[in-house]
C-alpha cells in the first residue's frame, strides 16, 4: 500500500512533465515511427523516401552499385526535376567520371536518340543497354 502511495506521489509531482512528454510522443508520431523502424528495414525506408526507379531513383542506383563494377564513375542523369544523387549513391570519391557508363533515370524517350547530358552529346545507339527497370536505364559503351 505504501509503495502504491509513493508511486502515486511521484506521478502527481511529475504530472506536468509526463503530460508534456506524452504530448511530444503523440506530436512526433513516436509510436508509429518506432513501429516502422522495427518492421521496415533501412533499405525499404530509403525506397519510400527516395523512390525505387521513380523520384530520385535510390533503388535503381543501389541495385546497379551492388551488381556492377565500374572502373570510372558513371554519368547519371535524372530526367525528373530532382537533385543529382549520384555523387552519394553510386560514385566512388577516388574515381573520376567517364562517359563509358551512363545511367538514365526517369527517361521516357527513344533509346536511340541523341542526348545532351551535362554538356556532352551522347548518342545512345553507341551504347549497349545493360539493365533496365521501368523508366530507368543503365547503358555501357561499345569498345
Amino acid at each position: 500500500m505504501r509503495k502504491i502511495l509513493v508511486i502515486n506521489k511521484f506521478f502527481i509531482k511529475n504530472i506536468l512533465i509526463l503530460l508534456i512528454i506524452m504530448s511530444i510522443f503523440h506530436h512526433q508520431n513516436f509510436f508509429k515511427n518506432f513501429y516502422e523502424i522495427m518492421t521496415k528495414s533501412y533499405n525499404i525506408r530509403m525506397l519510400i523516401a527516395h523512390g525505387d526507379c521513380s523520384v530520385r531513383g535510390y533503388g535503381f542506383l543501389n541495385y546497379i552499385k551492388q551488381n556492377y563494377k565500374f572502373e570510372n564513375n558513371p554519368v547519371v542523369y535524372n530526367f525528373n526535376k530532382e537533385p543529382n544523387t549520384s555523387a552519394v549513391w553510386i560514385h566512388n570519391v577516388f574515381k573520376k567520371k567517364s562517359l563509358n557508363n551512363i545511367i538514365l533515370l526517369n527517361y521516357s524517350g527513344d533509346k536511340k536518340k541523341e542526348l545532351k547530358i551535362q554538356d556532352h552529346n551522347i548518342i545512345l545507339s553507341n551504347y549497349n543497354l545493360i539493365y533496365n527497370k521501368d523508366s530507368c536505364f543503365y547503358f555501357s559503351k561499345n569498345d
Partner: protein
C-alpha cells in the same frame, strides 16, 4: 531492433561526450560569478569539440582516431571530475530537465530515422562533401569531387558521426544536428534559472514552456510534426541557428554579468565557427564583431585584439578556400557587383523588389514563427524603452540582419521570386535563435515592471 539500439548508443555517446566535465577550474574561470548549469557546460564542450574537428578536418587523420581520442579525454574527465559532475546534476530541476532532454532527443531521433528524405541542397552541396570525408578522402579531394564553393565543417561533422556509429548509416551524422540544436535550446531556456524576477517555484515550468516554444516556433516543420525539410533534412541552417543561440548566451553573460578574457575568447571561437558552416556565417561573424565593439564596456585594447583576430579568421578562411579551389574564385565580389546592379538600384524596380521582399518576409515569418514573436516584441521595446535597456545589442543585430536581407535580395541577379520562396525562410530561421534571449529577458523585465500596471484591472 538493431537500429533502435544504434540510436540509443548514439544518444548515450553524445551525452557522455558533451556533458563530460573537463575541469571544474576551467569552467569556473570561464563563467566566474555566473551560475552555470550542465547545459552551459555542454555548450562550451561543443564549441571546443567543433573547433578541434575544424582544425583536424584539414589533416589526413582518420575520423575514427579522432573519435577515440575525444572519447578517451571525455572518459578521463569523468574519472577525475565525477564529484563535480554529480554536483552539477544534483538539482531537482536539472535532473528533470536532463531526463526531459534525453527523452526529447530520442523522440526526434526516432522520427528522423523513420523519415529519411533529404533536402535539395543537401544532395547538391552538403551530402557529397560528407560522403567525401566518410569515404576517407581528405579536404583536398573535395576539389575533384565537388566544388569548394561552400564551407565544409557541417559536412565533416556529418561524416564524423556517420563513420563513428554502430551502423554506418548516413542519418547518424544528422542525429548530431538534433543534439546540438536541443543543447542550444535547453541552454538558452535555462537562463531563466539565473533570472531573479521569475518565481522560484515556477521556474521549471517556465523553462519547459520556453523549450517547447522555441522548438515548435523555430520552424513550421515542428508545428506540423515533420522533421525532414529544412531543419534536419541535411541543411546547415540548424547548425548556424544553434551556434547563434550559443553566441547570444555567451554575449549576454559578457555584457551583463562579467567580461573575462576567456569567455571573450570563447565568443570568438564560437563565432568564427560560423564561417566554416555556411557563406552567410561571414556576415553574422561581422555582425557579432560590430555589436561586440559597439555594445560592450570592454577595454579598447581588447576590442582591437578581437577585431584583428576576427579579420585573421576571415582571411584564413578565404585563403584556404581559394588555395584548394581549382577556380580560385571563392569570395569574389563579381557576383555581387553585377552589370545590372546599378540599373536595379536607380530605377523604380527597387520599389517593386522591396514590396516583394516585404511580402515574402511576412510569409516566411509564418514558416519561422519565432519571427512573429520578434516582430511583435520590437514595437513594445520601442514604446517601453526600459524593457530593452540591457539588450540593445539584439536590436542592433536585428537591424543589421534586416538590412542584410534586403541587400541580398535587392542585388540578386537571379529570379527574385524563386530566390525568395526558396531561401528567405531559411535565412530567417538561422538567425531567429539569436533573439530568443530577448523574449526571455523582456518577460523578466515585464514581471519586474509590468507595463500595464495602471490599467483598469490594477
Amino acid at each position: 531492433m538493431i537500429e533502435v539500439f544504434n540510436i540509443v548508443i548514439l544518444l548515450v555517446m553524445f551525452s557522455l561526450l558533451f556533458f563530460s566535465p573537463l575541469s571544474k577550474r576551467f569552467y569556473n574561470n570561464i563563467y566566474k560569478n555566473y551560475q552555470y548549469n550542465i547545459f552551459d557546460l555542454a555548450t562550451l564542450n561543443l564549441v571546443i569539440f567543433l573547433f578541434i574537428l575544424l582544425i583536424l578536418s584539414f589533416s589526413n587523420i582518420q575520423t575514427q582516431k579522432i573519435f577515440y581520442f575525444v572519447l578517451l579525454i571525455s572518459m578521463t574527465s569523468y574519472i577525475y571530475n565525477f564529484s563535480f559532475f554529480l554536483k552539477l546534476i544534483n538539482n531537482k530541476n536539472i535532473k528533470k530537465l536532463l531526463f526531459f532532454f534525453l527523452v526529447f532527443n530520442f523522440v526526434i531521433y526516432i522520427n528522423l530515422v523513420n523519415n529519411l528524405s533529404l533536402g535539395w541542397d543537401s544532395f547538391v552541396h552538403w551530402l557529397p562533401k560528407a560522403y567525401n570525408f566518410y569515404s576517407g578522402a581528405s579536404y583536398e579531394n573535395l576539389v575533384n569531387f565537388h566544388s569548394l564553393t561552400y564551407p565544409h565543417l557541417g559536412s565533416y561533422i556529418w561524416a564524423f558521426f556517420w563513420k563513428n556509429s554502430l551502423l554506418n548509416f548516413e542519418y547518424n551524422g544528422r542525429l548530431f544536428f538534433v543534439f546540438i540544436y536541443l543543447v542550444s535550446i535547453f541552454s538558452i531556456s535555462c537562463t531563466i534559472l539565473n533570472l531573479k524576477n521569475f518565481n522560484k517555484k515556477n521556474k521549471f515550468i517556465f523553462i519547459i514552456l520556453f523549450i517547447l516554444l522555441i522548438f515548435f516556433f523555430s520552424s513550421s516543420d515542428n508545428i506540423i510534426g515533420s522533421v525532414n525539410d529544412h531543419l534536419f533534412g541535411g541543411y546547415q541552417e540548424v547548425l548556424i541557428f544553434s551556434l547563434l543561440v550559443m553566441i547570444s548566451k555567451i554575449f549576454y553573460i559578457i555584457k551583463n554579468k562579467q567580461s573575462n578574457n576567456l569567455l571573450i575568447f570563447f565568443l570568438f571561437l564560437c563565432s568564427s565557427l560560423l564561417i566554416w558552416i555556411k557563406d552567410e556565417g561571414l556576415i553574422y561573424l561581422i555582425f557579432i564583431l560590430l555589436i561586440f565593439i559597439l555594445h560592450t564596456d570592454i577595454k579598447k585594447k581588447l576590442k582591437l585584439f578581437y577585431f584583428f583576430f576576427t579579420l585573421i579568421a576571415i582571411f584564413i578562411q578565404i585563403f584556404i578556400e581559394n588555395y584548394y579551389s581549382n577556380t580560385h574564385n571563392y569570395f569574389h565580389m563579381s557576383s555581387f557587383f553585377h552589370e545590372s546592379l546599378l540599373k536595379q538600384i536607380f530605377s523604380f524596380e527597387i520599389i517593386d523588389r522591396s514590396i516583394l521582399i516585404i511580402k515574402f518576409f511576412l510569409i516566411s515569418c509564418l514558416k519561422t514563427p519565432l519571427w512573429i514573436f520578434i516582430v511583435f516584441f520590437v514595437p513594445i521595446f520601442l514604446v517601453y524603452k526600459k524593457l530593452y535597456s540591457n539588450f540593445k545589442y539584439m536590436l542592433t543585430f536585428l537591424l543589421m540582419n534586416i538590412i542584410f536581407l534586403f541587400g541580398v535580395y535587392i542585388q540578386t541577379p537571379h529570379d527574385l521570386n524563386f530566390m525568395l520562396t526558396s531561401s528567405m525562410h531559411r535565412l530567417l530561421m538561422q538567425t531567429s535563435g539569436f533573439y530568443i534571449l530577448m523574449i526571455i529577458l523582456c518577460l523578466n523585465n515585464l514581471i519586474r515592471e509590468p507595463i500595464f500596471k495602471n490599467s483598469i484591472n490594477s
